[in-house]
Symmetry: C2
Subunit: 154 residues, 2 copies
Amino acid sequence: MKLKQLTLAALTLSLASAAFAQVKPEDEIRYRQSVMNVIGRAFGPMGAMAQDKAPFNKDVVVKNTAIVEMMAGLPWNSFAAGTEKGAPTKADMKVWSEGAKFKEAAEKAGKAIAALSAAVKGGADEKALKGAIGDVGKTCKGCHDDFRLKEFRN
Amino acid sequence: MKLKQLTLAALTLSLASAAFAQVKPEDEIRYRQSVMNVIGRAFGPMGAMAQDKAPFNKDVVVKNTAIVEMMAGLPWNSFAAGTEKGAPTKADMKVWSEGAKFKEAAEKAGKAIAALSAAVKGGADEKALKGAIGDVGKTCKGCHDDFRLKEFRN
């Protein structure tokens, strides 16, 4: 290897290390799991209402939709290349090998959440809200079915 | 033990089990850690700006303050009695033995966050925003110093 190549290789390695120092895979994994956990805690009671497993409570729907909406955009950057492993994760490797499909699934969830938020803000009735909640639930489940493993992997 | 006492003991146990089934300590621990993680990720860049370690970016302050504000009320119920252990946690046992002091520290953080949010919404200038961010940081640190262990415990 010639000197110039060696220097370039060292520089590349150095830049890669610098990037690694800024974005630690384990931190990204923890963060995306944290966001999903907060979303799940907010969505859970609404999902139960939509399935008539819990009494409808509009105040909870208003409050929790706002939480889900605010969280909805946060996790995706933390699935960047280089975050495939580094801590126990349920993310299927298809997240990275089928990135376009994953992005599409995430966007579908985002649209369903935006529609639920619009329904809440527009004063939709119980039936319409339950329908919008159900639509969000389907996009969550769809993405989880395709891209989330049943067990943690390292 | 008389029959009546036995029945009462069985009922108490049964109710305690039911409560336990609804609120799993490990889920509460995971949830409060998730919320704190999301808060930390949102607050981090603002803290760096307030300490002049990063260039001031008002858009980030607006966006991240909204996240911190929405998260600020969420973790406290998940420090309820019965959630002292069940998963690795950094929560000091003082959270429960000095509950009033913990509550006060949490409320102090809530007030500082509300003040930051008001400053953002009121169009405060860079200096005022940095001051309000610094005030939030102090309340975070104060509570962490008193109630968060340096290492995880079981």
